[in-house]
């Protein structure tokens, strides 16, 4: 079943790519229908999901693949991955809706995004490091073509930068994976096996080096300070839905790697270096927020807030490695917050990039000061924009609050130093309110004059993201019930 969810999109992609007779309109609708079917399947998985218990997986599938290196085709989900699988399925539907009227090579675009969907779902469902790596790299390849093929501005250059930088990261990751393989008692790439019998228990130096390789690989993808400089140009020049997939899904592959690979498979090294991770997290939070505050380009600003938001995740997973006697509950709260933040950032930042995409569609310009008083010609746009901005700054009632409250409560409860990151939510508030003020309020001026309000298709794309952000913000239990057992398992695994 999980294989169907993962591979359905790529099958459709092959059909779309192989049959040139499919018309543009048909391609767009096929794309939408396939993503909807995939989403329906994921909803089915969600409803059928029962917590598999520590060290086990739901909907597990395993068949031999490359036996001579101990690698199998192994899929499965648990409380860490199911929310991200669901997020992925939703995000790709939203993308298909948003470009339902696009005219720029829709058939190739649909095929490419369906391919990207399979590779993204694959990353979150894979339970074998080689399989994980293959999907991870394919997603980079797919995104390269999205930016280079459908981007604007300096797209080719940004795409190449994105590709080279993140590919370098994935090579570091591969080195780490080979290290894990060589260190494992059973000579295996199996993630479940590696997590239950972590290597390098008595070799702190080697374990530290392997963690360094894995950490650099994931930190580039996340991205954390100082590895984030590929992100702003990639976002600025990517098409709207490319930015959405990049921010909502691809960044999560990095943070997901921390909770799925780094923490459970290298618990000793993670504990040894947890302080370092916490510091990187705090720096990313503050640095991302401060640099975002200075941006004049709306898309670049959102890109830097992603560095800030992902910084909270790094802070939380770092704090979860600082083991002390009294704070087990706090560490679990921190990890739960980190996973919620991944989902929440995916929803909210996805919405913000669609909102930015509307600016580009209408006026081809992201410059904040070129707009002003948008609320008059485009009240619906202003309302959606305002809601998304407040969601992103962590206002209660939205998912961001559920994430950040838990991250802060849990992290400060474990490492009081984490309180240094608190000004991050204040600066984020200031920068979003400032952007709202400059673009939406005041006299209508500049490019705002004659700005067409959101149409039904655009609302249909953006609204589900914000709706889920509100649902999680008000009634988070349906999500937390799935995440909490898994985060408790991770905390146990790290403190072994």
């Amino acid at each position: 079943m999980l294989s169907v969810v993962v591979f359905l999109p790529v099958l459709a992609a092959i059909v779309l790519a192989a049959v040139p007779r499919i018309t543009d309109a048909a391609a767009r609708w096929i794309w939408l229908v396939v993503t909807l079917v995939d989403l329906a399947l994921v909803v089915g998985l969600w409803l059928a999901y029962r917590d598999p218990g520590a060290g086990n997986l739901a909907f597990e599938e395993q068949v031999p693949w490359i036996p001579n290196v101990g690698s199998t085709y192994h899929l499965g989900v648990d409380g860490l991955s199911l929310p991200l699988v669901a997020l992925t399925a939703l995000i790709f539907v939203v993308c298909a809706v948003f470009v339902l009227r696009a005219t720029d090579r829709p058939r190739s675009q649909a095929a490419l995004f369906l391919f990207l969907q399979t590779s993204s779902l694959g990353v979150f469902a894979a339970q074998d490091l080689i399989l994980f790596f293959v999907f991870f790299d394919l997603s980079i390849v797919g995104m390269y073509f999205v930016i280079a093929g459908w981007g604007h501005g300096n797209a080719a250059r940004s795409a190449l930068k994105f590709f080279l930088y993140t590919f370098l990261g994935s090579l570091a990751l591969l080195v780490g994976f080979i290290g894990l393989y060589l260190g494992s008692a059973a000579k295996t790439f199996d993630m479940v096996e590696l997590a239950s019998n972590p290597p390098f228990g008595d070799q702190p130096v080697v374990g530290g080096l392997v963690l360094a390789a894995v950490f650099v690989g994931l930190a580039i993808k996340t991205p954390t300070f100082p590895f984030h400089t590929w992100l702003p140009p990639a976002h600025t020049d990517a098409p709207a839905i490319g930015s959405v997939v990049l921010a909502s899904i691809l960044l999560k592959m990095g943070t997901y790697g921390f909770v799925r690979i780094a923490m459970p498979m290298l618990p000793d090294a993670w504990r040894d270096w947890a302080w370092f991770v916490v510091v990187i997290g705090i720096i990313s939070v503050l640095y991302g927020a401060l640099v975002a505050l200075a941006q004049t380009d709306f898309k670049r600003m959102i890109a830097y807030t992603s560095v800030n938001h992902m910084g909270y995740v790094i802070l939380a997973v770092g704090a979860a490695g600082v083991v002390s006697d009294s704070a087990a509950q706090a560490r679990q709260v921190a990890v739960t917050g980190a996973v919620v933040q991944m989902v929440s950032h995916g929803l909210i930042t996805g919405a913000l990039f669609l909102i930015a995409g509307v600016l580009h569609d209408r006026k081809g310009n992201y410059d904040i000061d070129s707009y002003g008083g948008l609320a008059a010609p485009a009240p619906r746009y202003a309302a959606v924009f305002g809601i998304a901005a407040f969601a992103s700054l962590g206002l209660p009632g939205f998912s961001g609050f559920i994430a950040e409250f838990q991250i802060f409560a849990g992290s400060i409860g474990t490492v009081p130093l984490a309180a240094l990151a608190l000004p991050g939510i204040l600066i984020t508030a200031a920068l979003f309110l400032r952007a709202l003020q400059r673009m939406l309020t005041g006299e209508t001026r500049g490019l705002s004059v004659g700005f067409r309000d959101l149409d039904r298709r655009e609302i249909l794309a953006i609204a589900p993201l914000l709706l889920f952000a509100v649902i999680i913000g008000i009634a988070p239990r349906f999500l937390l019930d799935i995440i909490e057992p898994a985060s408790s398992t991770i905390v146990d695994l790290v403190s072994r």
């Binding site: 400089t229 640099v291 200075a294 204040l426 309110l433 005041g442």
Partner: protein, 617 residues
């Protein structure tokens, strides 16, 4: 059943408010009926839950449910806030605003957030509502969004109060590690260093919302919002919630040893200094705003010294009083187009009933007996005297200042308008020269509250109130204190009556709110922006360019390596080949093709081998 009523106190305004906001202009006609019906029902439900005292918990995050419950304190405050909300909304409905659906929608969402704040029993519930109040304050201050100045004022208010709110996040973390969980009532039991962190965090959040020092300046900016918003958010409800939170956690403040004293002094100093600020203001709304911060200083002082009944009583009486005064200021603003005191001369004579109602509020604010704030202030000051005579003296001086600024406003609005006055009309907006009949109804109710809520200080009422609030062993004011403060207030009014002709002193530091806004700008805002610009340049010019430089260096190394490959490695290989060719030539030399030479070579070689064997053996 009563649990349902508690849920509805929150859900009803929340659902109505969100619906109105989302429906947009389509709901314009329905806005006022929906708003007033909802507010009426909510007020009725608030009274019901105040009597039945239900509690409920909704699972939220691990180990920290959203808890709501009505206890003695919230039973007193919730109905008053709900009724004031209804009255303010009635006034707003009659007065009329642009986009009524948005205005009433936001106000209803705010009302829901206040209901949660008042009844919250856990930190997540409190923080949840706390920040929504802040967001609604942003949206309502900048309600007239075409005016950049107003939107900017909302931004200042939101960010400054959120700076305090960070304390609640800190407190939540400390509570988790302190081992007590996130229930407010359990916080005093947290282990020692964490208990202090929790207290400090909560104090920061409360002082921020209550516009106490050093946060006061945002309240001045918030006066850019509509007067009805000022009446509800910036006097009766949101700002008051800062004082309320401190009353709620008074046991925690007491148990830390330092927190109670600190809070009491901050409250007393705010009452004193912002009282002086109020005296110097020339704009009625600015005067009332400074007065709000100063009056909440008394509530904060009460929380610090443990006078819960006095503080809570003062809170509700002040809510009624100040909402009344702000609404009157709003009515005059709409009618005369100004809120400058100089232009409001004679406003009370022009609309006598409204003038009388304003007088009731102002006299209550001045502490004139037997109106409400007089006795309640003495009740909390009596407890302060028990703690520290110095605190009492500061409080009493602040009370005298209340009388002075109230008197100043009062004598001006009852003065006689002249030509100079009329020249000041319409400086803010075109005035209607009209105050509607229906606008007076809510004013009458609020004035009644301002006059009569002092009964909360009468021993037959105050003793049971103290008992339900868990306050024991605190002092009650003596007759001398009560009489003394009444005489003091009258004396100050007399002083103003005489002094006003010569002009009340208006030192610059008091006129510009102690320079607080400038200080915040210089100490925090400016450096943050400079740092942010510097980091952005660092990001572009060093971090990213460094990356490019590394990439270029890589290309350079690559090309050098290629050249080295051509000249060095390739050259070396070719050199080696040359050498080998030389060796080959050398090796070919013995191959002469002449048999006798071969034999000679073989003989030499064999001799050598033979010699080697001999040597080795």
């Amino acid at each position: 059943m009563s649990v349902l009523a508690l849920a509805l106190v929150v859900l009803l305004p929340a659902a109505s408010g969100v619906s109105l906001c989302l429906a947009g202009p389509r709901a314009r006609a329905a806005a006022i009926p929906v708003s007033l019906t909802t507010a009426t029902a909510t007020a009725a439900l608030a009274v019901v839950v105040a009597v039945t005292r239900p509690a409920l918990e909704i699972p939220f995050i691990a180990g920290a449910p959203l808890g709501l419950g009505v206890d003695g304190l919230s039973a007193l405050v919730l109905p008053v806030v709900a009724i004031v909300t209804l009255l303010v909304l009635m006034f707003a409905a009659v007065e009329g605003t642009e986009s009524p659906e948005r205005f009433h929608g936001l106000m209803l969402i705010f009302a829901a957030a206040v209901a949660v704040t008042v009844t919250a029993t856990t930190l997540p519930a409190l923080l949840f509502a706390w920040e929504i109040m802040g967001a609604m304050s942003w949206a309502l201050i900048g309600f007239q969004w075409r005016d950049d100045r107003r939107v900017q004022a909302g931004l200042v208010a939101f960010t400054m109060t959120r700076a305090g709110d960070l304390g609640l996040y800190l407190a939540a973390g400390a509570a988790l590690v302190g081992g007590t969980g996130l229930t407010l009532a359990d916080l005093p039991a947290a282990s020692s260093p964490w208990r202090d962190v929790i207290a400090a965090g909560i104090i920061a959040a409360a002082l921020g919302k209550a516009a106490q020092l050093p946060f006061s300046s945002w309240l001045s900016r918030a006066m850019e919002g509509p007067s009805t918003v000022s009446a509800l958010l910036h006097s009766a409800a949101m700002v008051a919630m800062g004082g309320y939170l401190l009353l709620r956690v008074a046991p925690l403040l007491e148990v830390t040893g330092w927190a109670g004293t600190t809070v009491a002094w901050i409250g007393a100093l705010t009452a004193l200094l912002l009282g002086a600020v109020a005296v110097a203001q020339r704009d009625l709304k600015q005067l009332l705003a400074a007065s709000t911060a100063a009056q909440l200083g008394f509530v904060v002082l009460a929380a610090g010294v443990g006078s819960i009944a006095g503080g809570a009583g003062y809170l509700v009486a002040h809510a009624s009083t100040k909402a009344l005064l702000f609404l009157v200021a709003g009515a005059w603003l709409a009618a005369l187009g100004t809120k400058q005191l100089s232009a409001l001369r004679g406003a009370a004579r022009r609309w006598p009933l409204v003038g009388v109602l304003f007088t009731v509020g102002a006299l209550s604010l001045a502490g004139i007996a037997p109106l409400s704030l007089w006795a309640l202030k003495d009740e909390l000051l009596a407890v302060a005297l028990q703690t520290s005579p110095a605190l009492y003296m500061v409080g009493l001086t602040a009370a005298a200042l209340s009388a002075i600024y109230s008197g100043k406003a009062l004598f001006i609005v009852w003065g006689r308008a002249d030509d100079a006055t009329e020249a000041g009309y319409d400086d803010e907006q075109p005035g209607t020269r009209h105050i509607g009949r229906w606008e007076r109804i809510p004013l009458v109710v609020l004035a009644t509250g301002a006059a009569l809520l002092g009964i909360l200080a009468l021993p037959p009422v105050s003793e049971p109130l103290k008992a339900t609030l868990g306050e024991a062993g605190t002092a009650t004011p003596s007759v001398i204190e009560l009489a003394g403060s009444a005489v003091l207030a009258l004396a100050m009014l007399a002083l103003v009556a005489i002094g006003l002709r010569r002009g009340v002193p208006q030192p610059a530091w008091a006129v510009n709110w102690l320079g607080l806004e400038k200080a915040v700008h210089v100490v925090i805002v400016r450096p943050t922006l400079v740092l942010s610009e510097a980091l952005a340049r660092f990001d572009d010019n060093i971090l990213d360019r460094g990356l490019h430089r590394t990439a270029r260096a890589g290309i350079f190394v690559g090309s050098r390596a290629a050249r080295a490959d051509e000249r060095g490695v390739d050259g070396a290989v070719e050199g080696l080949a040359r050498q080998l060719r030389g060796l080959g030539t050398l090796a070919r030399r013995p191959q002469t093709g002449k048999i006798h030479q071969y034999y000679a070579q073989i003989t030499i070689a064999l001799a050598a081998v033979f010699a080697l064997i001999l040597l080795v053996r």
